[in-house]
């Protein structure tokens, strides 16, 4: 699963680089509609997409473009109305809610724009929380949480509550929480949307280092072109479709221009 080349954007990973059988995430004709009858909204038109393990992908687009819907499908928070979504070769369409939860628990770590920490729990308890559902005992939960907080640079803030931490620190706690289940995929939804520029840079650097050093597949959903441009593979969405799907250092350099 580790593929540093892909992370560097050398074009060696991704759907075009490997056979479809190797894809970690595979969407085939995956579509999502909401509502019924006249109120029916086609949020995502049938889409085919393969994401390789260890890749760094951005999904960009304005609101209403379908990027959030696609992220929810990739994150197994939702199931497609039509088509299939496979994670590691397993189709989520046929899964029960319990199985879906298990897949999320074992495979995916979420990072949200609004951090989504439990306000009354300490940083340590927030990070340790998902491990409850892994059936890990309390002392082990706390040990692992402290390790991860150390790793994201918050070793001295373990007992602080979210309201005692800055935005950037809160997002680091959230990243530590996303990592606690040793996921193969980190799904970041506007991870820097609520942060200032300097902090944003630090957070994105932290996420990128996880992709680069640990080989974690990183999918960043954003409407900010500068952030989207940093990814090795850049998917742009519009009106429920994939508008463009680019890869390569050259494009990355172009896009990086403000």
């Amino acid at each position: 699963m580790t593929d540093p080349g892909g992370a560097e954007g050398e074009g060696t990973s991704g759907s075009e680089g490997r056979g479809p059988e190797d894809a970690f995430i595979r969407l085939r004709g995956a579509a999502r509609t909401y509502g019924e009858g006249r109120a029916r909204v086609q949020a995502l038109l049938p889409v085919d997409l393969d994401i390789a393990a260890g890749d760094y992908v951005s999904i960009a687009g304005p609101s209403g473009s379908g990027k959030t819907t696609m992220m929810n499908l990739i994150g197994c928070l939702d199931r497609p109305s039509a088509g299939s979504v496979e994670i590691d070769g397993r189709d989520v369409a046929g899964m029960s809610e319990e199985e879906l939860a298990r897949l999320r628990r074992e495979t995916i770590g979420f990072v949200f724009q609004q951090f989504n920490l439990l306000p009354r729990s300490s940083a340590r308890d927030n990070v340790a929380m998902p491990l409850v559902y892994h059936g890990v005992g309390r002392s082990e939960r706390e040990r692992r949480a402290d390790d991860l907080l150390q790793r994201v640079g918050l070793g001295d803030r373990t007992t602080h509550r979210p309201n005692e931490l800055s935005g950037g620190q809160q997002q680091r706690v959230a990243i530590a929480r996303a990592l606690v289940g040793a996921p193969r995929l980190i799904l970041a939804d506007e991870p820097t949307g609520a942060l200032d520029t300097k902090t944003s840079g630090e957070i994105i650097a932290l996420l990128e280092s996880l992709n680069r050093e640990e080989g974690v597949t990183l999918v960043v959903v954003t409407h900010e072109p500068a952030l989207a441009a940093r990814a090795a593979r850049r998917i742009a969405m519009l009106d429920g479709r994939i508008q463009s799907d680019e890869r390569g250092a050259a494009a990355q350099a172009d896009r990086a221009e403000p």
Partner: protein, 407 residues
């Protein structure tokens, strides 16, 4: 492990709204307190009945010269019961070990300006034997005193206390309806019972009471006010009572369907009747408790619905990070159960305080049976699970995407 984590989450959540949580459980508190009180009082009442029966003496049939209550109608029938009847019962009935007739009358007892209204009982040797009257101080009656009708008395503990306080009553002369009487003994305390103060009496020889205290009236010269008939251990007193009725009916020529001039009662029937009364009380209390628990349970359901909607975002976060619907459901079920168990605990404390006050005030030995305490906690937790089921299911069915969007 999951349960422990859930309990921690529950306590954390409940602690955040301490006042609301405690108020919510009031229905459960009262319900559980009632249930525990029912158990405690029921047990105490049973113990008191046993004690009362023990005080009366076991295997006992009691006869009063009062028209049989079962058939009491418009016609008033003068009751009849004599010492000769007693002699006949002792002679003719199988299994009778002793017959103790007695006279009873209200008297005013006085000593140096202290007065106490009490009951004077005229007794014979058989009474002292049947009704285990232990003498705490002094002595019981000598045979000669019983036969000759001496003016000597044995005081019940509370009479002795009222007239003498801490003073030694032995050898003192008290006045009963102005007649001077010498105190020769004080009976051992029997304690309170369902039937009232069991130590409020003065015993004197029956002959003395008949000669000195009774108004001369028409009727049987050897009439008595009450008679105790003791049967041999192991015999059925209900059957014994039936035999007594048959024999006395013969003696008084009572025909089938006539009103008997006497009432026969046995200790078995007494405990049966007492149990019926206690049962009725318990039924009333249980219905109050059930209503309270029902209302309490609805309150829990209500507050859990509020809690679930307040914590929608938390539910979304937990689901996104791997909690399965069943995990979320269990979390809220545990929270409801913990909430109710806290209510149960408060109810237990309340009932412990109440039983303490009741036993202090009444002298009853009221205690909470440990099984009832454990049962109450488990029961209230069960109510929590039942009451929390619908809210927990609602939480478990939430869509994580929508839940995450909640403010």
């Amino acid at each position: 492990m999951m349960l422990r984590a859930n309990i921690e989450i529950a306590l954390n959540g409940l602690g955040a709204n301490m006042l609301r949580s405690v108020l919510t459980t009031i229905g459960i508190v009262i319900g559980v307190a009632s249930v525990v009180m029912i158990a405690a009082l029921g047990r105490a009442a049973e113990a008191e009945i046993t004690r009362t029966i023990d005080a009366m003496g076991e295997n006992m049939v009691i006869i009063w010269p009062v028209a049989d209550s079962e058939r009491r109608g418009m016609v008033s029938t003068r009751g009849r019961l004599t010492e000769r009847d007693g002699a006949a019962l002792e002679r003719d009935l199988y299994g009778v070990t002793a017959v103790a007739p007695q006279l009873q009358m209200p008297v005013q007892a006085g000593f140096e300006g202290d007065y106490a209204p009490t009951t004077l009982q005229g007794v014979d040797a058989a009474y002292l034997e049947i009704v285990a009257t232990r003498i705490a101080e002094g002595r019981s009656f000598a045979e000669e005193e019983l036969r000759a009708g001496r003016t000597v008395a044995v005081l019940g503990a509370s009479v002795a206390d009222e007239l003498f306080g801490g003073e030694n009553p032995l050898g003192k002369r008290i006045r009963l309806n102005r007649i001077p009487v010498e105190v020769i003994g004080v009976a051992e305390e029997r304690g309170g019972a369902l039937t009232g103060d069991q130590d409020d009496f003065i015993l004197m020889p029956m002959a003395t009471v008949r000669q000195r205290f009774r108004e001369v009236e028409a009727g049987d010269p050897d009439a008595v006010d009450m008679m105790l008939v003791q049967f041999a251990p192991g015999m059925s007193v209900s059957e014994g009572a039936e035999e007594v009725r048959r024999l006395l009916s013969e003696r008084y020529h009572v025909r089938e369907g006539d009103i008997r001039p006497f009432t026969v009662f046995d200790t078995e029937e007494f405990s049966r009747q007492s149990a019926t009364i206690i049962g009725a009380f318990q039924a009333v209390l249980i219905s109050i408790a059930s209503i309270s628990l029902l209302v309490g349970g609805i309150g829990i359901t209500n507050i859990m619905l509020v809690v679930v909607s307040e914590r929608t975002r938390e539910i979304g976060i937990r689901m996104a990070t791997g909690a399965a619907p069943s995990d979320i459901r269990n979390q809220f079920l545990v929270e409801a159960a913990v909430l109710c168990a806290i209510g149960g605990l408060l109810g237990l404390i309340l009932s412990a305080a109440a039983t303490y006050l009741i036993s202090a005030a009444s002298g009853w030995a009221v205690a909470i049976p440990p099984l009832a305490a454990i049962g109450a906690l488990l029961f209230s937790a069960t109510i929590g699970i039942v009451a929390g089921y619908a809210p927990a299911r609602r939480a478990a069915r939430m869509n994580p995407i929508e839940a995450l969007r909640a403010t």
